[in-house]
Amino acid sequence: MASLAAHSALQVQGLTRDEFSVREITDSGLIRLQTFHRSVGSVENVAEALGMSLPGPGEVLAGDAITVYWSSPGEWVIRVPIGSEQEQLVSLQSRFEGLFAVVTLMTDSRVTLELSGVMARDVLARGSSVDFHPSVFGNNRCLSTRLAGVPIMLAYSAQHDTYLLFACRSAAHYLLDWFLASSEDC
């Protein structure tokens, strides 16, 4: 018997307008990294084991093959190429041997949407009260907030002028419908 087929969260085209687009990114594997940050030195020890410094609040750090997003105190999301996450997970578990650090696969729990276009910032501002102005939310910044009532993590890349939005997979269709309705003028 063949392996179970995999389906993306949306299973439909994203959204393309003149000044705003949404597309689902399916080439990312996601791993949640947690450490008991109240313990002195725990974050530093995890960073040392990881071989790279961990981003501070609201920061994104890109390594050779991974990108790390700050999620909350003592918690980060590691983005790796799809298909490599199980291998990465095992590797991380082995690096963290003896440390109280937890890595959990979360690829399937999230839909990753790429938002682009000159109106992207305006559309986001229609569902969130965050200040998305580049002077405040600039390159390689990330945050956790709510968009149209859905908890999300959002990161901005000035290089591509795109936002990466991570949300609960089950909310993917709701978000797409909301983007459709909120970008009719784009």
């Binding site: 018997m1 389906h7 937890v102 959990t104 729990s109 102005h133 089950s170 909310a171 709701y174 909301w178």
Partner: protein
């Protein structure tokens, strides 16, 4: 009202581009740049509305948002909008407006006969009148004639949008003061500046100036600001609310000026939520009317409005204009009109002396001066024709001398200026009364806000105002204060006679300044008359509290896109497309779109559920159980932590084992239940109520972060990482065995309440043997991306067993047959574990846990607490619904109620659970159920009539 044949040359309209529109079915012509009000005035339309209560004919009174008369029903059908201020409606091609609150038309209104009864319709007459014989006697009539415009009866085809904007500095109002503030700021730095103005064009009262210097300055400043990256200029945007933390709300009229022909891709309006570092309010001031007998006739207008209609719209509104004023500003307007070629016959001023320079200029302009006079009456039903005057005594308390008359076709009035401090007041800023100008001005701000220009009482020239709050020695009955609501001086006097002293109470009793006016023109006049009547000073009376919205806001704008399916976030199951393909009947369960049941052609709900239940009982069914909450708890202190969180003992739970648990809050109340799985000594998988993972995760984090910070525990929510399908029924194992996997499913190696991990069809899988149906069940979890394929594989594998998808309602029937608790349905906000029969379990637990202390309090030991019980109807063919009351022995009160009730196709009768006072000691007692007027005999029994020994689920 004089019809304007030719507009003045300097008018800010496009005279080359006529626009046709209609009012009350008659077609007219206006120009781009007109408002509906200016276009109606240009066409000589004098009567445009009717007053609210006694249907007095009314004409355009103002030129902006302070308009109190010219309210129209805009457009028709789904596009119709009631109570549109004609002064704020930009003219567009084929605009269609009708008068409102009149029958058959505002010109000839049959309901004007109500004016004959004005004396018996004073303030709040309805509180006294409609009591006898009952309100309902009058209700039909009142509902027919009350109200102004008509709400649309069809859904609005237009869309509305909400958006947030952050700015370092927000400037509200782009008149001279606001623009000067903007210039100063941008010269100093590069902060983000947002300038909002409610008008179609920027400039505020500068738009009404005929001075070339003003026009040139405005053009230059706007060009300067528009060229800067850090400045955003937004017109057609009214700031309506000022809240804490410098958050303001504004309404942008995106497509209103385009009418029904606006592009549907654009929202009609956009509701802005503004976060501002610093706010500068340059909201200007409203001119106040003077209060005198019959001051509401068409053709009586604010002097500033006449100025605006003359210079901005190029109108000549009268051939014989008279001014009635108490301050210098109206004199300037009178002189401007003369310069514009309009005949100003006279200025009547309550002041006996006016600065000599003004008197000289007016006399030179041929204007007759009536100083120290008051208007004692006016004539002209559909338009002002004559004024009656009398001289005032030196103290202005009385009239003296004979009555004189002045003919006119337009009366310009000015009772001074009221700074528009509404937003400032909403921000919490304190006001102070300035006697010289008889107005409230900002005093001490409570947020980062600065008020500039006329909003701050900074008038360009001294007003030299002397107040006359109403005409003395004549009837107060027809001296209007709030024009639209027909509030007159006599209404304030009545309120005072009836012992209303507080300005807030008087406002509500008389409706002065409520609804449409929001105090813009009536506030100061009303409270000044209240002060007079109660022999107090105005500051002593104070002003009413200004509250949002400053200007009426469309409900659609508040809603934005949060309508229909977008009203609240909706979550889809991983195998959603499969459920759609099976024609599932979906329902919202905690935000999740889940199948209730899967009706086949010709089946109703009950038949579908009965079929699904029997399929599970007799063979095998498949349920998408993915919303089942799944939290992983890690750490060396994980077991200790979980043992504190659950009411039952979790210390003895072995690796690979699963145990049902109850979770309480600090008050001992049951908040959740579920199965806890031990994955490793320091790693647990907690299952919560479906859809409850987020809430329970927060509870866990609160304890970990606030109370037990030393416990080394990390929690992660993996609910949506895993698609969970429940295979249930006597053939469940046989179906699952058909799939490739490395987990031994044999009964002896994988029994009830056991957990296994491995692979299934080549993907990681987690299997839990737990059952909410009472049959052998496997909760199969795979990574969510494979959920749809797993559903398809299981359906294929179960084909020979007649595998049947079943929905939540079928599950509810089965768990009620088994007597299984559903937290939230079978518990209320007071249910403690002992009410569920858990007293023994808790007593045996040696360790402390959340809520334990509260269980021992007196009320927790009360034997008459509502306790969980099964309920069996004596008539096996009868039905009952959840919510039915369990009556006391004498039948006069309720002792509890049915919490779950379903018809059981398995048992052939209704199965029910309930919480009933002292039920545990009343087993087998006969009771009476009461529901919707019917009574049913029933018996309290042990929950769970189906397979009480649990042999089937252990199979």
């Amino acid at each position: 009202m004089k019809r304007t044949v030719k507009r003045h040359e300097h008018a800010r309209i496009n005279a080359d581009d006529p626009i046709h529109f209609s009012f009350d079915g008659k077609r007219y012509r206006g120009y781009e740049g007109d408002t509906l009000a200016s276009a109606l005035l240009a066409n000589g339309v004098a009567v445009v509305g009717r007053s609210f209560k006694i249907h007095r004919p009314r004409g355009v009174f103002a030129a902006g948002k302070e308009e109190v008369n010219a309210f129209v029903q805009l457009e028709e059908g789904p596009y119709t909008e009631p109570n549109a201020r004609a002064t704020l409606v930009p003219l567009y091609a084929d605009l269609k407006a009708t008068g409102q609150n009149a029958w058959p038309s505002v010109r000839f209104d049959g309901l004007a006969m109500l004016g004959l009864f004005k004396r018996v319709l004073p303030a709040s007459f309805y509180y006294k009148t409609f009591k006898w014989p009952s309100w309902h006697t009058w209700e039909g009539l009142v509902r027919r004639i009350a109200g102004l415009g008509k709400a649309p009866s069809q859904p609005d085809p237009q869309t509305y949008q909400k958006q947030t904007v952050h700015t370092d500095i927000l400037i509200v109002g782009a008149g001279r003061a606001g623009l000067m503030a903007a210039l100063e700021i941008v010269r100093e730095g590069h902060q983000r500046v947002l300038v909002l103005d409610e008008q179609e064009k920027f400039g505020g009262s500068l738009l009404a100036s005929a001075e070339q210097a003003d026009r040139a300055w405005l053009k230059r400043v706007l060009a300067d600001l528009a060229g800067r990256d850090n400045v955003t200029l937004m017109s057609r945007t009214t700031v309506n609310g000022y809240y804490d933390h410098n958050v303001l709300a504004a309404l942008e009229r995106v497509g209103n000026h385009l009418g029904t022909q606006a592009e549907q891709s654009q929202p009609r309006e956009r509701f802005w939520r503004i976060h501002a570092g610093q706010v500068i309010l340059a909201t200007g001031a409203h001119e106040r009317p003077l209060v005198f007998p019959n001051n509401d006739r068409p053709g009586i207008m604010l002097a500033s409005a006449i100025r605006e209609y003359t210079h901005r719209y190029g109108l000549t509104l009268g051939d014989n204009v008279v001014f009635y004023a108490n301050n210098d500003s109206a004199w300037d307007v009178a002189l401007e009109l003369v310069t514009a070629g309009i005949k100003v016959t006279a200025i009547v001023d309550v002041r006996s002396t006016v600065v000599a320079k003004l008197q000289r200029r007016a006399t030179l302009a041929g204007i007759e001066l009536k100083l120290g006079y008051a208007v004692v009456d006016t004539r002209g039903r559909s338009g002002i024709k004559k004024l009656l005057l009398r001289k005032l005594t030196a103290d202005r308390d009385h009239l003296t001398g004979p009555k004189e008359s002045l003919s006119c076709d337009l009366l310009a009035i000015s009772g001074g200026w009221t700074p528009a401090i509404h937003l400032y007041s909403q921000s919490g800023g304190k006001l102070i009364f300035r006697d010289a100008d008889t107005c409230f001005v900002p005093d001490v701000a409570s947020q980062a806000v600065t008020v500039v220009g006329r909003a701050n009482g900074e008038f360009s020239q001294p007003l030299n105002l002397q107040a006359l709050w109403s005409t003395p020695d004549v009837s107060s009955e027809y001296q209007w204060i709030d024009f639209q609501y027909d509030v007159t001086v006599s209404d304030i006097q009545l309120a005072v006679r009836e012992n209303f002293i507080s300005v807030e109470h008087v406002k509500r009793y008389t409706t002065n300044g409520m609804s449409i006016d929001q105090g813009k023109t009536s506030n100061v006049n009303g409270l000044a008359i209240l002060a007079q009547e109660t022999e107090r000073q105005i500051p002593e009376v104070g002003t009413t509290r200004f509250r949002p919205p400053y200007h009426p806001t469309t409900i659609g704008a508040y809603a934005g896109r949060e309508l229909g399916p977008l009203y609240t976030p909706g979550f889809q199951l991983p195998a959603h497309v499969c459920h759609v393909a099976l024609d599932a009947q979906f329902e919202d369960y905690g935000g999740w779109q889940r199948p209730e049941y899967y009706p086949r052609p010709g089946e109703d709900e009950h038949q579908a559920i009965a079929r699904e239940v029997l399929a599970v009982r007799n063979s095998v069914g498949l349920l998408d159980y993915s919303p089942l909450g799944k939290l992983e708890v890690h750490g060396p202190d994980a077991r200790e932590f979980l043992n504190r969180m659950y009411a039952n003992n979790m210390v003895t739970l072995k690796v690979g084992g699963a145990r049902y648990g109850l979770m309480l809050n600090e008050k001992g109340i049951v908040i959740d239940d579920g199965v806890l799985v031990c994955l490793a000594e320091d790693h647990f998988l907690m299952h919560t109520t479906s859809g409850g993972a987020g809430t329970i995760h927060q509870v866990l984090e609160e304890w970990l972060q606030c109370e037990w910070m030393q416990l080394e525990v990390l929690v992660t929510n993996v609910t949506t990482q895993w698609a969970t399908l429940t295979l249930s029924g006597p053939n469940a194992r046989q179906v699952l065995e058909k799939l490739d996997g490395d987990i031994d499913l044999a009964h002896d190696s994988f029994s009830h309440m056991q957990y296994r991990e491995g692979t299934l069809c080549g993907v990681p899988a987690r299997l839990l043997r737990a059952s909410f149906t009472g049959e052998v069940s496997f909760e199969v979890s795979v990574p969510a991306r494979h959920g749809q394929a797993l559903w398809e594989e299981l359906m294929t594998a179960g084909k020979n067993y007649g595998i049947t998808p079943f929905g939540l309602e079928s599950l509810m029937v089965m768990r009620t047959e088994k007597g299984y608790l559903h937290v939230g349905a079978d518990t209320d906000g007071n249910t403690m574990p002992q009410d569920l029969g858990w007293a023994g379990v808790i007593a045996k637990k040696p360790a402390d846990f959340v809520g334990r202390r509260s269980l021992s309090i007196e009320v927790g030991q009360d034997e008459q607490r509502l306790q969980l019980t099964g309920i069996e109807l004596l008539d096996s063919s009868a039905d009952i619904l959840a919510g039915a009351h369990v009556l006391s022995a004498n039948g006069d009160s309720s002792t509890g109620y049915v919490t779950s009730a379903y018809h059981s196709p398995t048992l052939g009768r209704t199965v029910a659970l309930g919480i009933v006072a002292g039920a545990h000691a009343r087993q087998d007692e006969e009771v009476t159920l009461f529901y919707n007027g019917n009574r049913q005999a029933a018996r309290l029994v042990k929950p769970g009539g189906y397979d009480p020994e649990g042999e089937r689920l252990n199979g």
